[in-house]
Structure formats: C-alpha cells, structure tokens
Symmetry: C2
Subunit: 358 residues, 2 copies
C-alpha cells in the first residue's frame, strides 16, 4: 500500500483546530483507500516565533521539503503584528513558499448552491460562480530586488520594491494556467496592467505567445482595475484567471469574498516538482481562536486538494469533497455560514460530521 | 464677475458626447451665478495621436497648465491598443497628470437611493454606501524608476518596474486624506501591504505619524487584499480610504462597480497649486461611441467637482449636483442605469433634462 509523509503546520489562531479536523479526515480516507500517512507536525508562524525565535525554523522547512505534501493551517495574530519584518509570521510563509519553490497558487472560488445566500451579491449574480485564480506565487514585487529603504538627495526617506518578471517565470505559470483552464471550461483570462507597467507588457507578450500551444483554450486579457470591477459586476464571466503575485493576492481575496463563504475555500501551491503546499485561504482569526467556532471545511477541502494535486490520489480526494457536500446537505453549519433553520455546530462537531459522511 | 479659463479635453469614444453635455451645464450655471467661462477645447489621447502623432501634444499640456481647471472626457480605444508604450492614449493621460502635478485623486463612490437597484450587491449591503477613495496619483509604480526591459545572465528577458515612495509624497497625500475625512464622517482607512512591501511599511509609518495632527479623525490601517474583500462584504464600513497609485487604481474601480452605476461617478485630481483635472471614472466605451447612448452624468458631476474643488464655486457646484438628482427623480435614465417603468433617454436628451433641472 502507498505511504506518504505529510508535514502538518498548524500555525496560529484557529490553525491548530482546523488542522486537527483535516488530519482526522485524511486518516479516515487513508484507511478506506489503503493509503498510509505519516504526519510530521512542525512549528511555523507566530507559534514558531514564540518557540524558536524565527517564523520558519530550519527543521520545519527541512521537514516540509522532505515530505510528500505540506498542509498549513493559518499564521499570524495581533501579538506579532508590530514585529520587524524578518520576525513577522508572514515572512515565514513567504520563506516557505520560496523554499518549496511553489510558484503556482491555485485558488478556486466556488459558490455552492447550499451557500448561495452567504454571498453579499444578489442571488442571480452569485449563483453558479465557479472560477479559479492561478496566482504566480514566488516572483514579482513580493520577492523582487532591490528592495528596502534609503534617503534621496533632499534627505527624504524612501521605501522601495521591485516588480520584476523573467520570461521563464511567466511561461511556467502561464502553462499551469492554460492546463488548468483546459481541464475546466477552456477559458483563460490573463490579468495585468500592460497599459502602464513594463513587467505587465512582458507578461502579456509571453502569455499571448504560448496561446498557440493551447488552441482549445480561449485566451483573453484584462486590466487589473477592470478585473476588480468585473468580479463584482458579473463573476460568472470568469473560468480561469492567471495573474501575478500582488494582483493575484488582491483579486483572489476579492473573488473569495464574492462567494460569501471564505471559511469554505481551499488553496494549493505547486512547484515544478517536490511537495506542494496546501492551505485554507482564510486567516488565523485570532478573535475566535480556541473557542471551537472555526469552520474547518476550507482546511478539509485543502486536504482534498493535497490528495488530488499533491499526491495524485484522485479517488481519496473525491471522497472528501463528497463528504463535505453531504455534511452541508445534512444541514450542518458553523457560525460563519449559518442561517436560520440549520444546525449550528462548532469546529469539532463539524469535523465529526465530515467523518460520518466519509 | 469672475472669469475662468477651462481646458476641455473631449478625448476618444464617448468623450466628446459627454463633454459637450457638461460644457452646456457649466455654461448655464455660469450665467445664473454670474461667472464667465472661456473654454479651450484641445486634442488628447487617441484623437491627438491621429491628429498630431502624440497622445499629449505640447499645446494641449500648455493650455491645461495655463487654465484654471481641466475637464477630460475619456481616452483610449481598440485602434490604439497595440501601440507602443509612448504612443498609447494612456501614456498621454499619465503625462498630463505628471505635468499638472495632480498627486491627489479623489474618487467618490456613492450609492444614490434612486439607483440602489443598479448594484449587483444585495440592497441591504449597497444602500447608503458613501465612500471616498483618495488615491496617490503621480508616484509609486506608475512613475518609479528604474523601469523597462533587460536580459538576465541566462539570456532570459526581464520586465521590471519600481514601486517607490518618498516620505514627502506620502505626507502630502495623507494630509489631503485626513482633511477629506475631516469634512466627511471623520474616519480614514489607510490601505497598504505593509506585511510584505517596504514601500508600504514607510507608507504606514508616515500616515501613522501624521495622525496626531488630526485628533478628530479616526485612523485605521488595512491590508490591500483585505480591503478588496471588505469592499464586497460590507462597503458601508468605509468613509475615506487613502492608498497608493496602483492599489487606488484597483480599489477605486472595485468600489465604483459596487455602486452599480459607474456612469454616474466623477473624479477630481488635485495638486499643491495650479489647475485640477476632472474626469468621469468610466472609460471611452468605444462600443457605444457616437450612438448617443452614453450616460453624461459622471462628466456633469465631474464638472460639479471642478466648480467645488477646482474653482471654489461651491454654490454653482451644488446647483449642478441638485440638478442631477432632480433629473433622476423625474425618472430619466440612460441605458446603463435604466430599469422598467423609467424614462429611457440618450446622452443628448439627458443633457437637456439636466439643463431643465438647473
Ligand atoms: C500573509 C500574506 C503574506 C499572504 C500574501 O500576501 O501572499 C496572504 O495574504 C495570502 O494571500 O496568502
Ligand atoms: C488609463 C489608465 C492609465 C488609468 C490608470 O491606471 O490610472 C485608469 O485606469 C484610471 O484609473 O484613471
């Protein structure tokens, strides 16, 4: 029977609660599918800062690199918000992405029929939304150099960053996006600001030049400001979106909020080879941490993405996805997606119900 | 009687149609308020490219600089989309902003009770939204150097831009924002990505340090990805938002779409001194250009902002704003904001009705 090593990074806030639920789900499908998991739980983010003084200890990165896939809960919290840059939980996350070379961040935003009312968009606008943001994750302004602070001729302080893309970085994320679109509804929208930025002009040129290799995919281009509008106006027009690191950060969060249920949304970050990183798109929610109120389904669905994209265990992934839908159909809801007449449960109970559905 | 010179830049697409309506409105309030206007109509954008080979001819910039205020229609169109950078209509607009040193871009997003149904957001989420985005307009990644293309050690093509802010650039836009918030509901939200970008760290530091000078304004900070979400989740939480050039581009467009009526939204771009630049936030809409279908109200309201912020003619501005509301109350609607039972009119007829209301 197949055996995999999974690094678990519970992190901060609600992270440990949701990871514990997802771990149980993984364990159960494993036994049903004849898979074996070895779990390595490692510190990361604020938890690691408190324990070791750095947000991503070497042992954590090493364990992540040596495993078959990495499942992360959430990081960050008020406590570390004013830390210097190299001591921020967020810096640990960026180091992890860089260390694992996971350049392709897949962020689905789907409005489930069961949860269409959770959206702040009108029902007819929200229902049926099913899009995927493919965000470049290890380049652009997040990592570009030079960066830092300096002083100009007038003694004025400067803060600066570099938005930079190399052709090969654009090509590899574009290929992931074309292939993602091909497996979906065959429509790819590349988002940039090519009317102003040189980095975007190169982006558009490279994406355009790859299109001939994917004749079955319909490629379009959109400026980022327009994309931010179109997501509100008519999100159903989108199938797959591909964009750079910072635009992807903004647009994927906007898209996720359009679904109204960010407690439900998973993500996958993949490299050329090596382990992928899987995490819910929501944050560490320090305000409800430790209160058994968190919605674990985004992490459970991230575990499903781990099975599908990280390990190729498609059947086990489908089992988890089906179980989540079944749990919703049986009326169980955490507070963030609860509405009148449905069964309000906590994080643990939701986890139990998912196990039952599996 | 006071006399002002106004440079009119009709530009491309629907630009000339909407500028013509706004000019008539300005002329009528002028006669009622005992003001005199001299209008200089100059080419700009694609129209200027066709006529002179550049998107912002020297004479146009000179006229703009020497006038008391500048009213712009819209620029751009398919025809020039694939032009080289220095021959893009957009480049002319950036040169105009730079030339006039209009660093503060004010973009209101208001949901009028008459138009609440135009929003794709649920009524209870959209109604009462009244926010102002103060966007830095002459700095950041739009203008930062170095920028361009190069080749790295591996022969790989690079495209790069620089996001850079100097302390004084942040201070002056922050002051405009604090003062704007003070005249509104006293709440200012500064949006950045200070958990990742040094330019944002300096931004947050400077904005924070100015807060003590505005004790009557309640300052908060938000990351840009969260802001993109919060605008969808609960836009009413915002009063005044201040942010950099690129984040302002994205968030102000998102905010405007949340109102559902971007054909209604004006903007003002102001400098330390010298003429301001006023323009509707919508684009040149080439698909409906020349068909008498455009909504001229965003440009008419931009003319009201011109009177108020550009010339200090508060009373004349109020006349125009009141006339727009009265026209809506009398049931006139262009196609973009039309709904059953109301009076569908074209651009010209809408203009006539506004004059009647004035
Ligand atoms: C925490 C932060 C550094 C991170 C990012 O900006 O990438 C987060 O917003 C995300 O999208 O995963
Ligand atoms: C046309 C373009 C250069 C411009 C910008 O990005 O500033 C536009 O989107 C705007 O917001 O006025």
């Amino acid at each position: 029977s197949k055996s995999y090593t999974i690094t678990l990074l519970p992190g901060d806030g609600i992270g440990p609660e949701v990871i514990s639920v997802a771990k149980n789900a993984l364990q159960l499908v494993a036994s049903l599918e004849g898979i074996k998991f070895k779990f390595n739980e490692m510190p990361m983010g604020g938890a690691a800062l408190d324990l070791t003084g750095v947000p991503l200890p070497e042992e954590t990165l090493l364990s992540a690199k040596q495993s078959d896939a990495v499942l992360l809960g959430a990081i960050g919290g008020y406590k570390w918000d004013n830390n210097e840059k190299h001591l921020k939980p967020e810096t640990g996350l960026l180091q992890l992405r860089e260390g694992l070379k996971v350049f392709a961040n897949l962020r689905p935003a789907t409005v489930l029929p069961q949860l269409v009312d959770a959206s702040t968009l009108k029902k007819e606008v929200a229902e049926g939304v099913d899009l995927m943001v493919v965000r470049e994750l290890t380049g652009g302004i997040y990592f570009g150099k030079p960066r830092g602070f300096s002083t100009n001729e007038n003694g004025d302080e400067l803060g600066f960053n570099t938005e930079v893309y190399a052709a090969h970085e654009i090509d590899r994320i574009a290929r992931v996006a074309f292939e993602t679109a091909r497996k979906r509804r065959g429509k790819l929208c590349s988002v940039d600001k090519a009317n102003v930025l040189e980095a975007s002009m190169l982006w558009r040129k490279r994406v355009t030049s790859l299109a001939s290799e994917y004749p079955d995919v319909e490629l379009s281009h959109m400026y980022v400001d327009n994309a931010a509008m179109q997501l509100v106006r008519n999100p159903k027009q989108f199938d797959t979106i591909v964009t750079n690191n910072i635009f992807g950060d903004i647009l994927s969060d906007e898209a996720s909020m359009i679904t109204g249920s960010i407690g439900m949304l998973p993500s996958a970050s993949l490299g050329e080879s090596g382990p992928g990183l899987f995490e819910p798109i929501h944050g560490s929610a320090p305000d409800i941490a430790g209160q058994d109120k968190a919605n674990p389904l985004a992490t459970v669905l991230s575990a499903a993405m781990l099975l599908k994209y990280g390990l190729g265990e498609e059947k086990a992934a489908l089992r988890i996805e089906a179980a989540v839908l079944d749990t919703l159909n049986r009326g169980f809801r955490t507070g963030d997606i609860h509405s009148a007449g449905l069964n309000l449960v906590g994080c643990k109970e939701m986890g139990e119900q998912v196990l039952k559905s599996i």
